[in-house]
């Protein structure tokens, strides 16, 4: 038997948000080492939030990520409101959810069409893909544009929205301002349904993992309609967790590993876990809108999905949901009397957790009686998925050892892109090295 040693390296992963590298080493047909190295330089948000006013957290934390700034703004707002003993509900909460739907549509359309689909169709980027799949590319761009428009309308702009504040908004729209976007969202929902059918036709490697899914689940009283988690809820898992955000630190721990500038999160009890679309979908299938459920069934998805390569289909189903939900929220919208509720600081610690497109970001802040931040902790979704991404890579490489290096490298990159990793977020994150040594 030949002693085969292989090393596969990708020094700068493409079509992910941020800078990362991948290193895989195999020896005698076994995977010896897998490292997802995040070399995105650290930016120290948690440190320079100290001494800032609690009202500044939404604008500052938005800058962690240009792709999902709303996720950071919302988690920060919830944490501050929790610290101050205030909650935001009614139409203000509905508007937050509506803004967040815009971010889901925009971010998911970006990932499905621009970052992930080229892997399945065999192109280096959407530009080359557009030469043979122009209609699909135009559909993707139009979807993304609708998400951006919704964000612009409610947030002022799509990257780092300016209209979010602790307690609500600076300005809320009049109902008739939402009429135009409602028409676009109806067309976007049709495009999203077409996206699910398109993505379902891709070829997926047979690969399933025994994930512990972690996602939010909306708390609901008897008789209340089911609600897919976006802007809050309890932290639940397929392993039986059911926690309030304040209990996050009791069950999850961040560890530093030498090869990454992003901290790895683990479940204290069981190690690696998965956040993001697969987890959210598998724990909340019952709460999807009827058209989203129907689209999932037609695409051949069961109520649980454990194949990370199919995350592109799940993301597409979530775009359908986000369009539906945005239309529902617009349909029942009445302008609130005031654009925000007064939030009065007090010395306390607050926790906030919402569903970013790529999974739950957790925020914890301690503020003093005057509202100055004395401590901040932010756990982005990609830090939480890092250990799981490495587990997936081990499995993918083990099953694909017969592939030549170039195809194995591509398969590994694809396994990372399954996660829509946001490396900029995780650094507080990536290049592929495969070493068949």
């Amino acid at each position: 038997m030949p002693v085969e040693r292989r090393t596969i390296k990708v020094d700068a992963l493409a079509r992910v948000e941020g800078e990362g590298a991948l290193y895989v080493r195999t020896s005698r047909g076994r995977v010896a080492d897998v490292r997802l190295r995040i070399y995105e330089p650290p930016r120290f948000f948690e440190a320079f939030l100290r001494g800032r006013a609690f009202t500044e957290a939404p604008d500052i934390t938005a800058r962690i990520c240009g792709i999902c700034p709303v996720a950071y703004q919302m988690s920060a707002c919830l944490a501050m409101e929790d610290a101050c003993g205030t909650s935001v509900d009614g139409q203000l909460r509905a508007l937050r959810r509506l803004l967040y739907c815009g971010e889901w549509i925009q971010s998911h359309a970006l990932h499905v069409y621009m970052l992930h689909a080229p892997d399945f169709l065999g192109y280096p980027s959407i530009v080359e893909m557009a030469r043979d799949h122009l209609a699909a590319v135009q559909r993707g761009l139009a979807l993304k544009q609708t998400g951006n428009e919704l964000m612009r309308l409610l947030g002022g702009r799509e990257v780092h929205p300016i209209n979010v504040r602790v307690g609500g908004f600076y300005r809320v729209p009049r109902p008739r301002e939402l009429a135009g976007i409602a028409e676009r969202l109806k067309r976007a929902r049709d495009a999203a349904l077409e996206t699910v059918r398109w993505a379902a036709g891709f070829e997926f490697p047979e690969f399933e993992q025994p994930y512990e899914f972690v996602a939010l689940r909306a708390a609901r009283g008897p008789g209340q309609p089911a609600e897919y988690p976006i802007d809050g809820g309890r932290i639940v898992s397929s392993g039986g967790l059911d926690l309030g955000a304040a209990e996050y630190g009791d069950h999850f721990v961040e560890e530093q590993v030498p090869h990454s500038n992003a901290l790895h999160s683990r479940l204290r009890a069981r190690g690696a876990y998965l956040v993001g679309p697969l987890a959210r979908y598998s724990l909340n299938f019952d709460a999807l809108s009827p058209p989203a459920k129907e689209a999932a069934r037609e695409a051949g998805l069961g109520p649980v999905c454990r194949n990370p390569f199919r995350s592109i289909v799940v993301r597409s189903v979530e775009i359908v949901y986000a369009c539906d939900e945005a239309l529902r929220l617009i349909g029942q919208y009445e302008a609130p009397e005031r654009p925000f509720v007064e939030v009065v600081p007090r010395a306390a610690t607050g926790h906030g957790c919402t569903e970013a497109p790529r999974g739950i970001p957790y925020h914890r802040y301690t503020i003093d009686a005057a509202g100055a931040i004395s401590d901040a902790r932010i756990v982005p979704p990609t830090s939480q998925n890092q250990a799981q991404i490495e587990d997936d890579l081990r499995g993918v490489v083990q099953r694909s050892l017969t592939l030549p290096d170039d195809r194995l490298t591509l398969r590994c990159e694809q396994a990372v892109r399954n996660y829509d990793p946001c490396i900029s977020c995780a650094t507080h994150f990536l290049t592929l090295h495969i070493d068949r040594g």
Partner: protein, 295 residues
């Protein structure tokens, strides 16, 4: 040519090759940043396909696996320099680029991560990482212009995509970009927004902030928070006085200058002047919520 079929196909192919060779090569580079400014390019949904017909996107890692070597006609640079490795990398980018344009507050002024420049980075590392020795970082986050010659700086956190298209068009056409240096105030007037500072007493950085955002914040009834950085020759002393008159504590005025453009010279000096004045009151806690955005 002795290749089979070459005689028949050569003319068309040669014309195509010549056309492709004339298409300028565009590269997009990332340093320490949030990816938001590069995303602005992907957010040009209506223009993206037309743009890729005019330029070859030769290097754009966020969008493509294919990377074409330099030289590049235009390099767009996002992010600030925060590691020794990046300080060397930007020099290679400069050498490979005919025009180098920085995009956004990080590349132009050091970004929000330049808040470290005024603190002890060791303390920061210890606040975030259990084993700080694993992390490679410089003491300061610096703009690209501190390391290499920059041909044009496009301000904004994030940049305005219409301005980005203007800058690209200008370099493709060989003319200077039409980006105005005036303050956000002019954009409010053009937009017909009533002045939030005069009419509502809301502290606003608009009078000292570079235009380009289209004065979004005042249109949403909040004061400008300076994300486009200083305009040309801003009168920050006068504006700080106005904020003081509106009842904003000295430390909070200083903090207002110390956000995403904290290391831009005019904003840094304004903050330092306030901090020197209020040395005794430095411990003053920030204002709470309420109507004032200064908090």
């Amino acid at each position: 040519m002795t290749m089979p079929g070459a005689g028949r196909r050569a003319p068309g192919t040669a014309r195509e090759n010549a056309r492709a060779a004339r298409r300028p090569a565009l590269a997009v580079w990332k340093f320490a940043s949030c990816d938001g400014c590069q995303l602005s390019l992907l957010s040009c949904e209506d223009e993206l396909l037309a743009l890729t017909g005019r330029v070859d996107i030769a290097y754009f890692l966020e969008a493509s696996r294919a990377a074409v070597g330099g030289p590049y006609d235009v390099s767009l640079v996002e992010g600030s320099i925060t590691t020794a490795h990046d300080a060397e990398r930007i020099k290679r980018v400069r050498r490979a680029s005919r025009f180098l344009v920085t995009i956004g507050a990080c590349a132009t002024a050091g970004g929000i991560q330049a808040l470290r420049n005024f603190k002890n980075v060791k303390d920061f590392l210890q606040a975030v990482y259990a084993k700080p020795e694993y992390i490679d970082t410089l003491a300061a986050s610096t703009p690209i212009s501190a390391h290499v010659k920059v041909d044009f700086e496009l301000q904004g956190c994030p940049i305005n995509k219409a301005q980005l298209l203007e800058v690209l068009s200008a370099y493709l056409a060989g003319r200077p970009p039409g980006i105005r240096n005036h303050s956000v105030c002019v954009e409010c007037k053009r937009r017909g927004t009533v002045c939030v500072m005069v009419a509502q007493g809301t502290p606003c950085l608009g009078p000292v902030t570079h235009a380009g955002c289209e004065a979004i914040c005042p249109a949403y009834r909040r004061g400008c928070y300076g994300c486009y950085g200083p305009m040309e020759s801003p009168n920050t002393a006068s504006l700080s006085g106005r904020w003081r008159y509106l009842g904003v504590p000295e430390a909070a005025i200083a903090r207002a200058y110390r956000t995403v453009n904290t290391n831009a010279e005019a904003f840094r000096k304004a903050a330092e002047a306030l901090e020197a004045r209020g040395a005794g009151g430095a411990g003053e806690a920030g204002p709470g919520g309420g109507e004032s955005r200064a908090g």
